[in-house]
Structures are given as C-alpha cells and as structure tokens.
C-alpha cells in the first residue's frame, strides 16, 4: 500500500531524485560544527511561533476595547491558555536570541563568504523581520508598558530624516498611538510579516540545501593542504542531531513558560501618566539606551536623528557585509570583521545590561 502510494507520487513528482539528493547529502564534521545547529534551533522556534500564534488567534481580539481583556481571558479562562501565551512570548524572545547567536557564529566563521552571500543577506533580512514581529507583537496585549513603548518606538521612526514623519504616521495609522495602531500592528503581525517571512525563509533554506554547509576558513585550509574532512550523512544522522537540539530547545522553552510566566500588566490608557521604567523589549534596549544618552544636539544636528542614522548605517553594513569583506572568499579573514564583530557583541551585551540597570 505504502509502496503503491510512493510509486504513484514518484511518477508524478519525481521523488526518487529528491530521495537521491537526501541520501547523498552530507554534513562536514569538525570542531566548529556545534554552530551549525543554531540556525536549526531558530527555525524550530519559528515553527513554535507559527503554531502557538495560530492558537492565540482563536481567542485574541484586535481592538483597543477588547485586546487586553481577550489576552486576560486567554490566560485566566481558557484551559492551558496561559501555557500557549507563555510559550509564544518566551519562544519569541528565545528566537531573537538564537537568531543573534546564529548571526554572530556565521559572522565569526565567515560563512557569508562567496558563494553564500545571498544566504547571509536573506538571513539578516529575516532578523529584521523577526524584530518587526517582536515590535508589533509587543503591542498586541494592549497593556500600559507596550503602549508607551510603541509610542517611543514609532516616535524614533519619526526621527528619520525626510521619510520620518510619513513612516511614523504610517506605522501609527494616524498621529498618535490609538486603536488604529493596534489594528495595523495586528495585520502586520499576523499577515504581512508572516507572508514576507515565508518568502525570505524559503529562499534562505533553499540556498542552504543547494549549497550545503559552509566550512570555516581554518578547516578549509586543512582541506587544501590535503587533509580530508570527515563527513556525516545528512539523513538520518544530522537530522537526528538537529532533532535532539530541538528537543533541548523545547525543554528550555517549557521550563521558562512554566516557571517564569509572562506578565500581562495594566490595560493601556492614553491618559495615564507614563509609568517609570518604561523600556522596550531587551533586543531593542541597547539601541534605546544609546538614543537616551545622546545629547539633544550634536554639532547643530538633532541627536536622535544622528543616532537613528547611525543605526541605519550599521544595519546596511551588516546586510551587505559579504560584499564589503571580499577577502574572506580567498581565505583572508579580515581582522576588521573580527574586531567589528567583537565590538558589536560587547556593545550589545554592555548596553543591554546597562539599559536594565538604568531603568
């Protein structure tokens, strides 16, 4: 029966070619290979987000009057609603964290070098989209903290020269953060960003499958000098390794969701005073803290604008890194990239902690 079904599908879809590809595929084994799993864990968490997100949609109501109440309803009335919501919130944070780990590991291992430039570019775009998910999703429970954080966040977008005003109004769905903003963010969070993710993630994964795993320059050198790098079959060995890591991720996620429930806070009120200690999600904190520290005017230019421009520039450098670091393809690991990476990592660590302590 199964064989017949397989033959039927094979005639139509040429499954044997795919089977052949999977059977032939292998993954290099070397001391840096643990970093190969980070992308897989990130992917797993994306899956968790899609799954729990769809479940939350069953009860969530995207309006200023009902959003907070519906989230409260989910966590207090719906059976295991608290679990689904906690997992969604925790998984979102772990996902961004793992995406950063994945990013820095591919950066330090120079995996972006030719021929994998596009894999890097799509990866960085995915990170930006994930941050967009975080930013839009943060507002959806319509609580005080998120409300004011969104005011600040969209206000920062307003500091961008020329297009700032338009962007801010576009994001807010008006001049201010209101129920219209909530509806917009909801649409962004559950339809537009998922659609974009599907496209970019598809390309990202396709590229990885077509090109296979990148080997770090140090290992590549050994290979060039005649040593053979041991290989591991992709299926089932590597897939099982991947699954094992996913299982670990699931365990961590479940533990966090169980023991550290996500707060629901107080319902947003446009006329309430801003609560002290207002701050965005941790992955925006380092940026937020810098903008707070910048003086109002630097050499006659608005400090905030300068800061935003700086971050924009940094984002561009990150996005086009493979094209800036051309030497990596010839096996010359640029010291500048290593130093830049270390500084970026140190900056994020220090300012995120600083942001927490300062709040």
């Amino acid at each position: 029966m199964t064989q017949q079904l397989y033959a039927w599908l094979d005639q139509r879809l040429d499954l044997s070619a795919l089977q052949h590809f999977i059977a032939e595929k292998s993954v290099p084994v070397h001391k840096h290979r643990v970093w190969y799993y980070m992308g897989g864990i990130t992917l797993f968490l994306v899956g968790v987000q899609v799954f729990t997100g769809i479940l939350l949609l069953l009860y969530y109501r995207p309006s200023a009057d009902e959003a907070f109440e519906s989230v409260k309803f989910i966590v207090s009335q719906v059976e295991f609603g608290w679990l689904i919501r906690n997992i969604h919130s925790w998984s979102a944070n772990l996902l961004i964290f793992m995406a950063f780990v994945h990013l820095f590991s591919t950066l330090f291992l120079r995996s972006y070098r030719k021929p994998r430039e596009l894999t890097w570019v799509t990866g960085v775009l995915l990170l930006f989209v994930m941050m967009g998910f975080g930013f839009s999703g943060y507002l959806l429970p319509w609580n005080e903290l998120a409300f004011f954080a969104t005011k600040v966040g969209t206000g920062i977008a307003g500091a961008v020269p020329v297009v700032g005003d338009f962007t801010m109004r576009f994001l807010r769905g008006g001049d201010d953060v209101t129920g219209a903003t909530l509806t917009r963010f909801y649409g962004l969070h559950v339809a537009i960003l998922p659609a974009i993710t599907t496209g970019i993630l598809g390309v990202h994964l396709l590229l990885i499958q077509r090109q296979g795993m990148s080997v770090p320059p140090s290992v590549e050198k050994q290979e060039k000098s005649g040593a053979t790098i041991p290989q591991m079959p992709f299926f089932p060995h590597y897939v099982l390794h991947d699954l094992m890591w996913w299982y670990v991720a699931l365990g961590v996620l479940a533990a966090l969701a169980l023991f550290l429930p996500w707060e629901i806070g107080k319902k947003a009120d446009a006329f309430a005073v801003v609560p002290p200690g207002i701050r965005p999600e941790w992955y925006f904190l380092a940026m937020f803290q810098v903008l707070k520290l910048l003086p109002a005017h630097i050499m006659g230019v608005e400090g905030e604008m300068l800061g935003v421009l700086g971050f924009g520039l940094a984002a561009m450098v990150l996005l086009f890194l493979p094209f800036l670091d051309r030497g990596a393809a010839e096996g010359r690991s640029s010291r500048l990239v290593t130093i830049g990476g270390v500084i970026a990592l140190a900056y994020m660590l220090v300012f995120t902690i600083y942001g927490y302590l300062a709040a």
């Binding site: 479940l55 069953l58 009335q77 719906v78 059976e79 295991f80 609603g81 689904i84 699931l250």
Partner: protein, 156 residues
C-alpha cells in the same frame, strides 16, 4: 548501524532495546503532553454567563398596547409584549427551533420567527411552523410610582 562494544554478547542487544524503549516512552509522553493541553485549549471555556435573573426593560408608558419590544436579558434577547388589552408579558426571544430572534407581529398579535416562519401565541406556545417547544416565559412586574412604573422582567 554498527553497534559499539561487544555485539556477540546478548547483553548488548538488550541494552539497545532498553534504550530504544526509554526513548520511545519519552517521545510518547512528550506527544501526550502536547496533545492534551492542545485539546483542552481548543475547547472554548464555558462562557462566564452573568447570572442575569432580572432586568429593567424600561418605563411602562414606553410600551404601546399590541406591541413587542426586544430587550437585553443578560447576553440573550428577551421580548416584552404588551397585549392588545394592555397586559405585560415577557419571553425569551430565542426561537426554540434554531435560535433566531423572534419578533412581534402586530397584524395578528402573534410572536413570529422570520427565519422559518414559526409562530407562537401570546402565551408563548408554539402554534405553527417548525418550533418544537414554547418560548421560555419570564415574569413581568411593574415597580415604582403609578404612571412612572418600571417594567421588571424576571426569570421565573
């Protein structure tokens, strides 16, 4: 897969079977710990129905003779009927057939469901069409100063 150690010893095979079993039990429990909460989550919780037993439908003077008015009774509609001779009656406005909201038909002084042409008389009894049962009847009391009375609808 080649087994490590000493494959000739029967013990080695047992160990593998044992580990496979442990792994299997682990996966099955994980799957169960997924399915159960998921299943419970999907079932909508019993709506926290506010135990409405009594509502003020309005001033008695607002209800004309030979008319029916839909009022809110908790989360469901009720119909307050004033008969041609001025008497107040109230029923659940939920048709017993398929939950449509019924209305008053002044021409024939009947309660009518537009969905499937069900008819009830002014006592709430189903007299024609598909409704299987009479409408739930509520008690009506007039409360307050004469001429200023409130119509109070109470679940019997």
């Amino acid at each position: 897969m080649p087994s490590h150690g000493r494959p000739t010893e029967p013990d080695a095979i047992k160990r593998r079977t044992f580990l496979d079993m442990v792994l299997g039990v682990g996966f099955v429990s994980t799957a169960l710990s997924f399915v159960y909460p998921l299943w419970r989550y999907l079932i909508p919780p019993a709506a926290a129905e506010p135990a409405t037993n009594s509502v003020v439908a309005g001033k008695a003077t607002a209800f004309k003779a030979n008319s029916g008015t839909i009022v809110k009774f908790g989360s469901k509609p009720a119909i307050v009927v004033r008969t041609p001779d001025g008497e107040f009656r109230a029923f659940s406005a939920v048709c017993t057939h398929l939950d449509c909201t019924v209305q008053f038909k002044a021409e024939t002084s009947q309660i009518w469901c537009a969905c499937h042409n069900g008819l009830y008389d002014l006592g709430g009894s189903n007299i024609s069409g598909p409704p299987p049962r009479p409408l739930e009847r509520f008690t009506v009391n007039l409360r307050g100063e004469p001429g200023q009375e409130d119509v109070v609808v109470t679940r019997a």
